[in-house]
Amino acid sequence: MADLIKLIESWIRNLLLGWGAGEGLTLFILQALGSVLVVMLCFGIVIALIWVERKLAGRIQDRFGPNRAGPYGIFQSFADIIKIFTKEYVTPTGADKGLFNIAPVLAMASVLAIWAVFPIASNLIGADINVGVLYIVAISAFGILAFLMAGWSSNNRFALLGASRSVAMLISYEIPMVVSLLIPVLLAHSMKLSDIIKAQQPWWYLIIAPLAALIFLISSMAEIGKAPFDLLEAESELVAGYHTEYSGMKFGMFYVAEFLHQFTVGALITIFFLGGWSGPMAENWPVLGVVYFYGKAFLVYLVISWIRLSLPRIRIDEMLNLNWKFLIPVSFINLVVVAVVDRVMLDLNMTRWMYVGVMLVLNIVILLAALYISGKSQPSIELEEFPPRPVAVSNPPENS
């Protein structure tokens, strides 16, 4: 009972070997089954996530969310899916048909491929590769191509404009994302995701490197295109950005890929900064590890939704300024300082408490210094004091 997943796996393996399948084929079938299960779980979670997001959006904006389709509107996502399935696929004239049809598939595939390296429990991982962190960065690069393809093949000026702006934003924000991802790699001395989780056992990296977590959160929110970095789908500016011309299930794929990407970013933050599957009794009962992992990822998803629903969209030049003039210098300085201090304290052989304390203080100091310096460089705006002037009264006073 302690290891439920291994029990099921050995039962299926004995079943297949009993039917006469070879060793390699059994392994292949088991791995295929595992990956299909993870993908199905992802899609199922997305259905629930869409409902949670809409209810949360409703509540934050002082209205009910969907509450017609079933009790508390829980069947709203199913209604949406049925509606999207029945819509007609409209391909604009002059569009490049091959590219037009492959772009949503590539966008979805580039998000699902990240799930292959996630350690979901202490002994459950798709592919425990040596370069797990770099693999995640590489697959993000593929997602960028999907947006370009979608924007170009629509034969639509607005879609192309939206795609160019979004790709400029995506490739700019990859840099602080990768640099702040390097800090857990540095602290764990390995690029394997399971090693990074094992190295977080007493103290999560959220406490040792909170500035890296913050920078990773901000640049990931830019990568997935959630507000305030909403430019990829700025409804009031560009019709719908790169997915203007898509209808039916193709648009549904972009939509699901966006929500799944948000949840995947939540999973990434839990792996790198919140300890992944670790929690009380997670090593003995791997099923509990799965629950902790998905629970923490869901919490980060809620935080990202919360930030999205509270902030307005920022302009593209302000956004690029934020990236190149603030995030990149801060992340590089953070990396260098953490590397040097980590090495020095390793040599000095400090206790764990002092190590955590020093790192935490350093992170806060770097963040405050960066905010102070960037605040100094802005010209301060002098606000003139106007006397209050009544504008909507029927008989205005004489001296107005």
Partner: protein
Amino acid sequence: MSLVSLLFLFTAVLTCGASIMVVTTKNMVQAALWLVLALFGGAVIFVLLQAPYIAVIQVVVYIGAIAVLVIFAVMLTRQTEGELLPGKTNQWPIAALLSAALFVGMAYFYLSSPRTALMAPVLDPKFDLIRELGQQLVSPNGYVLPFELASILLLAALIGSIVVAWRK
């Protein structure tokens, strides 16, 4: 025919097919995307050669940066719609003959030399390639000097591009 050989043949056919599409198609955006597929095939070959780090770096650098740059360049210099110029120069038969001759010559040379019939040794799974690579890159007995010179070259290119694009 083991599974690895089948995978190699499939990837080789995919990469060569994508390369042929790159050099023959007239639509430049499609050519750029076939290039992405050919580079991805190259990354799969690197994984088969037990160099996963190089494979991932190929995807990040080549596909994520260089191919995106090529696509941007193609999009900013679009040909007029409906009037795709012939993609080939007038000397294309000589070019085809030259590259075919080069390929046949190299293939004959490789197949006739006994050294190239060796199989790749399977590395010990405990052997940590990344650690070894990192140590070689920064150890004074290793490759730290070329590494630092390459970084200075990249820095010079970066500063040069900013100076060229500077707007007073």
